[in-house]
Symmetry: C2
Subunit: 84 residues, 2 copies
């Protein structure tokens, strides 16, 4: 299980699309606030591993490529902890 406070420190790059409160800035981007932690972690890992293509997948892969497994867990905990 991730550390939400540590996740917040890594979330600066997420804000442009997913919003400072986890609410997406454009229709094609998902809201993240209150999403299930395990699903968020899975999704980030899927982008990192190249298991998603199309849409914004290449952009997400680029963002996620510099994150460690721990960073990913922490980001998942951070967004899961927000109120939708």
């Amino acid at each position: 299980k991730g550390n939400a406070e540590a996740g917040e420190q890594k979330a600066m790059m997420c804000v442009a699309c997913h919003g400072a409160s986890g609410t997406a800035s454009a229709p094609l981007y998902p809201n993240l606030a209150g999403q299930q932690e395990a699903y968020l972690e899975h999704s980030l890992q899927a982008y990192k591993k190249g298991e998603r293509s199309g849409g914004q997948a290449e952009i997400m892969k680029a963002y996620v490529s510099g994150l460690s497994d721990e960073d990913i867990s922490n980001l998942a905990a951070y967004y899961a902890s927000m109120k939708p």
Copy 2:
């Protein structure tokens, strides 16, 4: 833009994992209630096109394979219309 009422008619198969109110029944499944309509539509199309692998992607592909583009739009409208 989809028709939420028509989407509800197609949502019977979604309920086991995503919940009658769009709240997931297990940690690995995403909540759908209140998610962005365009993102939901994109995601369902991505599963249908085989743009996602790993995790539950094969299961999702199987479920989505029988849905028309209109069904997908309607389901996206239905889940987007729910309160998270």
